[in-house]
Each structure stands twice: as C-alpha cells, then as structure tokens.
C-alpha cells in the first residue's frame, strides 16, 4: 500500500515538472512574440496615418509616405503568385498523383525541391539577376523580381500542396475509380477540394516568404522608390524599403512604421488566402 502511494507521489511530481516545462516554454515563446510586436507597435504606430499610406516617398524615405512602395510590393507579389500558383499546383499534382507509376522520378524531383527550399535567398537573388535581369534582358524590374521570388517560393509551395494531396485517403481514389470516374474528374472534384488545407498552407507559407524577402529582390527588382509605370519598371518592395531605411540616418521612425504596415499586410493576406482557399476550393467538401 505504502509503496503504491510513493509511486503515486513520484508520478505527481513528474507530472508537475513536465507541466511546468511545457507552460514555461510556451510562455517564453509567447513573451518573445509579444515583445517583438509590442516594440514594433510602440515605435511604429505613431508614424502611420492616411498620408503615410497614400503619399510618395520623400528624402529616400525619411519623409513622405510609402504609397509607391506598396504598389511595387503588390505588383511583385502578383507576378510571383501568378507564376507560382499554376506551376506549383501542376507540379504538386504530378508529384503526388501521377508519380505512383514512377517513384524514382518523384523522389528525384522531391529531393531537388528540398535542396532548393533550403538555398539562401541571396543565392536566388544572384541567380535572378544573372538569368532574368541580364540573360533574358528584363533588367532591374518588377517582373524580374516577381519571377525570382517565384523560383524561391515554388519549392515550399509545391511541397506543402503535395503533402496535402498525399494526405487525402486513398479510399477516395478507389471509390472514384470503381465508379468509372476519370483521373481528371477525381482530381478536380474530390482530391483538390479535399487537399485544400494543404494548398492554403502552402500559399500562406509562400506569400509570407515572398513578402518578407529583401535579399532576392535587391539585385532583381531594385531600389527605385518612385511609382512604377509598368512591370518592366524597377520598384522597391516594402521589406527592402525597411532595410534601406535602417541604413540612412533619421530613417528609423519610418522604418518602424513600414514594419507595422508589413506585419498588418501579412496578417490580412494570410487570412484572405486561407478564407479563399477554404471557401472556393474546399467549399465543395465537408470535413467532419
């Protein structure tokens, strides 16, 4: 009897320790995050008003607003997504669906993607500069920047969509095939909708990485802080703007304000992306 009580007591102590550890870790992580956001808001919120969002850049960013920067950022992101989403979806489908017959190919492509996903962005910047700006003659332009970003985003996007598709139970495939459904209609009507969470996650990871990127854009879309007149024009992305502001004296207040805008933007785009994918693509399936 006494033996079992002492064992019970020991178990209780161990439980308490584990619990303290878990809560401690979770608390630390949350605290760091709160400090970061708090610092950003504390220094940045004051600088944000309508003028800041709608005016042009003055004195290389120390004064004026960030409107042209926002426009460039959106254009770069748009180019990046317009290229990444179709190519990414098709590649992921190929990897998860059609490669069953050719596992070697899919393993090879998968391994290459994993390596690419780990390559530092500065390397993508150099590649983008050499390939898009110089070899293809696009120069420092929003197009070059967007295309370079999509090279960077694609590996992550493809991998997470592929995982999402692979997670769809193979029961559905057999069920569909037994009903004489073609591969394509299975894909469009069952597998893609059921894999929607994976697509959403991939999209958000991709957008997050694209918006946060500075190094890859430095050599491709350039620094010009005026309003871009076309996709072939150079344009400065928001994160690059922040980086630049930290390098000039007196640039800090606006760097912080831009930082707040960037974080807010990320949040809004993430919500939008997940809502869109859940309702448009996933709207056809019901998860229980």
């Amino acid at each position: 009897m006494s033996r079992s009580t002492s064992r019970g007591a020991r178990a209780k102590v161990a439980d308490g320790l584990v619990q303290a550890l878990v809560w401690g870790t979770a608390g630390t992580v949350s605290a760091v995050f709160l400090c970061l956001v708090g610092d950003l808001l504390w220094h940045g919120l004051a600088g944000i008003d309508l003028d800041f969002l709608t005016q042009g850049v003055e004195r290389t960013g120390r004064a004026g607003g960030i409107f042209p920067i926002l426009v460039s950022t959106f254009l770069i992101l748009a180019v990046c997504l317009a290229v990444s989403i179709p190519i990414g979806l098709l590649t992921a489908i190929l990897l998860s669906e059609f490669s069953r017959r050719n596992p070697t190919l899919s393993r090879l492509v998968g391994a290459s993607l994993d390596v690419l996903a780990g390559v530092p962005s500065i390397v993508f910047g150099l590649f983008g500069n050499a390939f898009f700006c110089i070899a293809l003659g696009m120069g420092f332009s929003i197009l070059s920047g967007g295309l370079t970003l999509s090279c960077m985003v694609l590996p992550i996007f493809i991998r997470s969509v592929e995982l999402g598709l692979r997670a769809v139970p193979s029961d559905y495939r057999l069920a569909g095939a037994a009903l004489g459904m073609s591969h394509t209609s299975m894909l469009l009507k069952i597998l893609l909708p059921a894999g929607a969470p994976g697509i959403a996650a991939g999209l958000m990871l991709g957008v997050g990485r694209a918006l946060a990127e500075t190094a890859a854009l430095m050599f491709t879309s350039g620094y010009a802080d005026r309003m871009p007149s076309s996709l072939m024009d150079s344009g400065r992305a928001l994160s690059l703007h922040i980086y630049d502001l930290t390098q000039v004296t007196g640039g800090r207040p606006n760097a912080y304000a831009s930082g707040v805008v960037l974080v807010a933007l990320l949040l809004v785009i993430n919500l939008l992306a997940s809502w869109t994918v859940e309702h448009i693509v996933g709207g056809r399936v019901q998860r229980v």
């Binding site: 029961d171 057999l174 004489g180 073609s182 209609s185 909708p193």
Partner: protein, 272 residues
C-alpha cells in the same frame, strides 16, 4: 511450383465460355510483384444470382474481385493473367472502355468509402461523370435511395455530410451510389464486416431484394450469412501461400455435400 499448386488446388477446369455466359473467368491469376496471390481460377458467374465467395483471409478473394472491374490496374505492381469475359466482351483486351466497364460492374468495399461531400453530391458525382442530364439527377438519386431503403431516413437531410451517417447507413449509401449507374453486376467485398448485427441484417435483406434484378458477387467471412443469401458459392483456399478456388457450385450442394476435404473442414469450422 505452379504445377504443384495446380495439383494441390485441384481446381476444376471449365470449357471455353459460351457467348451467353454472363461472366466467365478462365485460368485467371493475380500476382503482386513476384508474389502469386491467386492462381488458375476457372469460374462462371450466373446472371441474376448471388454468388458468395468464402474462404480464409489472404486467399485472394479481394484480389479476385479487383480483377473483375479492372481495379487491379490501379494497384502498383499488380499483374493479371488469364481471361475474364463479361457479356461476351474480353475485358482484358485492348480498346475496352474501362469507364463503361466499371459503370456496368459496380463495387462496394469493406469499409464505407463515401466522398467527403454531401449525401446528394455522393450520388450526383457518378451520375454527372456518366453524362446523366441535370434534370434527371434528383429523380435518379431518389430512386436509388428508395431502392436501398434510405429515402425515409435521409430525405430531409440530403445536403448533410455523408460522413455524418451511421456506419450501416453509409454502407447502404455506398450501395446506392453504385446503383446510380444501373450496374448489371455488383461486387461486394465483405460489406458487413464493419457493421453491427442489426445493420448487417438490413443489408442482407437488401441483397435478397436485389437478387434477380442485379447479379451479385459477395465476399463474406460469415458462413451463416453465405447460407442465407447465396445461390452459388465458390470456396477460396491457400496452397503454398497462393490462393485458388477449390470448389464451386450451387450453394445448397456445396454446403450439404462438400467434395473437397478442405471445404469439409472449413465448413465444419475446424480450419481457416
């Protein structure tokens, strides 16, 4: 080895199929990579009857069903030899329309495998795939739901998720989904093995009701069930790790006077 198994199997050889035979299987074999799962199966399946496939696990009953609608095409490494002739068409010849074949030969699986969409959409999907006009969808859906006795249970919640149904209801909806295409032959792979006795009873009665209108091949581990519902029986057995059919014929005859010693033992519940 194949010779030895052939002898061990003592499976009966049938003559070449006649044209009016509903479904004729000749010298069928299935292998997964190097592993032979099923060997030299000869069997005729009759129109409008319920044929039960019985025998221990791992003797290739599921593999056999998968060859009949060419679902085996989807299993990596799975190879099929021999002939399957369905209503006069060799289904393993070139130029067979597999979509049409699978519309004619429906299948119900061991576990209900409804799509993660509404009850209604589960029935619409195969109908739309096979070109059912939009204004016929509702009528046809109601028809099959009535056939499987689900209409009164789900008519007021057709847009609810199919996965919200009970296990027995899900399995009946799977049957209804297969029936949307008016198949001539329905393959059922242990359709009751995941169900409770009540739900099993409902499905058994449904099978008895469908007999005649549909031809049914059903795999079951439940010998009492086979006796209750089957017109014909085929006994699968394993020899040297590969499966074969050791005995087949009228259910009554096989159950009353089995010819093979293995069948006798199996029916007596001593082996397998």
């Amino acid at each position: 080895m194949s010779d030895c198994c052939f002898e061990a199997c003592q499976s009966q050889r049938l003559p070449d199929p006649e044209d009016e035979t509903f479904l004729a299987v000749r010298n069928l074999s299935v292998h997964y990579g190097a592993k032979v799962a099923l060997e030299s199966v000869d069997i005729d399946i009759q129109r409008g009857r319920v044929t039960a496939l019985i025998g221990p696990s791992g003797c290739g009953k599921t593999s056999f069903l998968f060859t009949l609608n060419r679902l085996s095409d989807l299993i990596p490494g799975c190879g099929v030899g021999g002939r399957v002739r369905f209503e006069g068409t060799e289904i393993y010849s070139d130029g067979v329309d597999i979509g049409l074949l699978r519309a004619n030969i429906g299948m119900v699986f061991q576990k209900p495998n409804l799509f993660p969409v509404s009850i209604r959409k589960n029935l619409y999907l195969p109908l739309r795939e096979h070109g059912c006009p939009v204004n016929q969808l509702d009528r046809r859906s109601e028809e099959v739901l009535r056939e499987v006795g689900l209409w009164s249970e789900v008519s007021d919640r057709l847009d609810a998720s199919a996965h919200s149904l009970s296990g027995g209801q899900q399995q009946r909806l799977c049957i209804a989904r297969a029936l949307t295409l008016r198949p001539k032959l329905l393959l059922m792979d242990e359709p009751c093995s995941s169900l409770d006795p009540m739900a099993t009873d409902v499905i058994e009665r449904l099978i008895l009701k469908m007999r005649g209108e549909y031809s049914i091949v059903i795999v079951t581990h439940n010998l009492a069930q086979a006796q209750r519902i089957a017109d014909d029986v085929a006994v699968f057995w394993c020899h040297d790790e590969s499966g074969c059919v050791i005995e087949s014929g009228h259910a009554e005859a096989v159950f009353r006077a089995p010819k093979q010693p293995d069948t006798v033992a199996y029916l007596a519940g001593q082996r397998g």
